[in-house]
Amino acid sequence: MHISEGVLSPPVLLVGVAVTVIGTAVGLKKIDYDRIMTVSLLTATFFVASLIHVPLGPGNIHLVLGGLMGIVLGWSCFPAILVALILQTLFFNYGGLVVLGVNTTIMAFPALICYYLFRPWLRNNGLKRKIGAFAAGFLAILLSSLIMAVALSSTDKGFIQAAQLVIAAHVPLMIIEGLITMFTVSFLAKVLPEFLNIGK
């Protein structure tokens, strides 16, 4: 999910920066005193999740947890993902500082869409909550792959080829993330409902 430095053209980089700045500004406004710990806990989770590998598909894929970030944090997923990506760049050498905007957009924007689509599904306990959580985890990766393909196609290969390559590499991850998001949400809803800001 991390695009390396030197792959993308300047216009694409600028669009990424613009989306990230807007998202982060709105996201920071939405963090109030009670949400700080939730946001930073999920930031830490996202930061560390990239180290868990899924040895499937043509490449090697790590967890992203975009869907979980989105449905729990809403707009605040932008600052959370931005901070985690800065730290991953500095400590793990993933991506790069120049492509930070694009990489944040790739992971945070789909998370935000999942928030608006599936957040209402989480309100009540039952099958609907599970399906909503799975769909959020699944869709976040699918949309991320699509945005990544669009970004790559504008510079490197044709869209179809880039999209095929990226999406094919991420299909196993979509299913795994869907399952992980489903189990995490139903577990948190039982144990720590206040963490999700939902009723039991």
């Binding site: 005193y33 930061f47 040895p55 090697n60 901070v83 730290l87 970004a151």
Partner: protein
């Protein structure tokens, strides 16, 4: 009680994470070494999977000119002959096609009597002085000695080169290390620190109101 199980699970998750760290996440890397007059490159995705069908381009780092390019085989290997003399610094770039790109800097060492030097060019023997030039017979003797010296040199070079290949490869492979436990804990520390700063700013705002 519930809180305790939650903490236990978080701890287990963290432990699992640290156990799975040796692999390097989602990133392509390339390394190169010399093997019998060729430069061999190997490209791998983080986690040790070979990057097959990735584009490798070789660039003269001093002039920025592209010397050659090609694609990797199913094992992620790509080899090319040593470029003509004059080129010293190579920049070998791998592009996975899916947004992953990395490069490896390679410095060619032209040693005397190297495999790359074309035959026919006489290499000056280093220990020429001790031999006095007197008779014709002696001179032919001397040239004979030079040739065997050269051949010996050549033989030694190729043998040593061959023996050094696995070592060179391991060295190249280890040049880049994955994230260590310190990196991970450091990152988490930064996140906690940022949370503290955010909480402090929020509490100042609360006081003002």
């Amino acid at each position: 009680m519930k809180r305790q199980t939650f903490l236990q699970i978080i701890f287990a998750a963290l432990l699992l994470t640290t156990l799975t760290t040796p692999s390097f996440a989602h990133k392509v890397r390339i390394f190169a070494w010399e093997e019998g007059g060729n430069i061999v490159t190997e490209s791998k995705f983080s986690g040790g999977r070979a990057a097959n069908n990735a584009t490798v381009s070789v660039i003269d780092a001093d002039t920025g000119r592209e010397l050659l390019s090609g694609t990797t085989d199913p094992e992620g290997m790509f080899s090319f002959p040593l470029p003509s003399s004059g080129v010293k610094n190579l920049d070998i770039i791998v592009n996975g096609g899916d947004g992953h790109k990395n490069h490896w800097q390679y410095v060619i060492e032209y040693s005397g009597g190297s495999v790359a030097s074309p035959p026919g060019i006489a290499v000056q023997p280093e220990n020429k002085q001790p031999y006095p030039e007197k008779t014709v017979d002696k001179v032919t003797d001397d040239t004979l000695a030079t040739v065997t010296m050269e051949e010996l040199n050549h033989l030694l070079e190729t043998t040593i080169d061959k023996k050094l290949v696995p070592i060179r490869r391991t060295l190249a492979e280890n040049a880049e290390k994955g994230p260590t436990l310190q990196d991970i804990l450091g990152g988490i520390g930064y996140i906690i620190g940022l949370a503290g700063i955010a909480a402090y700013v929020q509490s100042l705002n609360k006081k003002k109101e």
